[in-house]
Symmetry: D2
Subunit: 141 residues, 4 copies
């Protein structure tokens, strides 16, 4: 039962901006890349074709400590902090070697797709059973 | 019956890259913005909810003449070059004042969405009837 | 002395994802668009050519209440919440008509660009003098 | 002396659009990812810090044959088609297993960065000497 995932990633040119660093909006995409990889580890796609349920993002945040530049190699660590009946909360750490780059969080909710709206529902048992809360708020070396 | 559209646009910061200019992938998005505005002029959304038909891109190209930088204001002109039974071909010019920035082309096809595939179909008559070919390959001042 | 800004925006196709809604990373870009428009209102570019100072993002967050879909027209309101000697904090509200879409915050810091690093500095007086804190945490109708 | 490169890539969620497929603008970014990986193979960064020369894109095109969807794994093959004194032309093939997804081309030019403009220059000999034209217009299995 996976509870965390570490992803190695390289900064692409189109992720940089005219200040010469990765645009801050990309950190949220890096975090989501790690989330989807964690779900694949658990045996799921977070967005299978024709699924009736979905996982909209309820809240997302980042604190930015150091910039990333073109071709930097960095790690994205994502850990599950909390699983409630209807939501999952993740914590995310970006680092480059020993340097802490950014610290993020993400909360997602489980919904059923209704015509013109999304109805919050309980996380299906077969999904909840495949994830667990990480033992630490940081990657354990 | 609209045949062309001109859009005024400003360069956003997230569209720039570490070379200090707009990343070339954005020109294709600017062209598509103008296309969708042209369709709205004709009274349509190119992607209405729950539509059975779609308009995938078949080919796209740009020649880049001059760079754009952060906060540049520029014009996107899009004109219809050809309408066949199943495709529409556009030509696109980006300019900043009197300076030609880039020249693009885009071909889209009409498809019906089938399970697991897209079937090329004839453009519905009520759509074809609302567009016409532009009288010139350039915006007429 | 501007303290807030309201921007009218339309959802572009490339901002949507396979769930049929605007990808959450775009809300951060919408917020930044409003910030840069606020700076232009104050008479500045936040990223002038060859400037020695810069404004990296220190923290950013959003709570997402309702989705946006293709071609939705919506408003981005950005207000200054706090100006300290070295940072500016904004609050952001996205709404579509009377519907609250999302609530965000953004903190930026003033830095001097040094070789290989960014040094936190005091906000130049001529810049601090041109902004003020908004009188409310919400747009006043 | 590298002449071609093959990259394995997975479709990320933020690369998809409301039609449920990868937005066409992303193919140009995939092509550029492969280009920059090819340059690393040759021992270079295409955008080293503080370089006086740059490599703006002169022309880019794609023909789109089949769509890509979320989590698809695909290959990006990039080969050098022509090296002139001032430009490099690439050809690009995207495929998923045996299915041809898209065919692209990219032309870049070598420039020296001057205040307010880019001056076309000859490709430095030490760079030209490290690349060669690919032996085929297709990846050789």
């Amino acid at each position: 039962m996976p509870s965390e995932l570490r992803l190695r990633r390289r900064v692409q040119f189109y992720e940089t901006d005219a200040a010469g660093i990765v645009h801050f909006s990309w950190f949220f995409r890096y975090m989501e890349e790690a989330e989807h990889a964690l779900w694949r580890e658990a045996g799921f796609s977070i967005h299978p074709p024709d699924s009736e349920i979905g996982w909209p993002r309820v809240a997302a945040s980042f604190d930015f400590h150091r910039p990333l530049v073109f071709e930097d190699e960095f790690d994205v660590w994502l850990g599950i902090v909390e699983i409630t009946s209807k939501t999952i909360r993740y914590r995310c750490l970006l680092s480059k070697g020993d340097t802490k780059i950014a610290t993020g969080s993400l909360v997602i909710a489980c919904v059923r797709k209704r015509p013109n709206r999304l109805e919050a529902i309980e996380i299906p048992a077969e999904i909840a059973a495949r994830f667990q809360v990480a033992s630490s708020l940081e990657p354990i070396a």
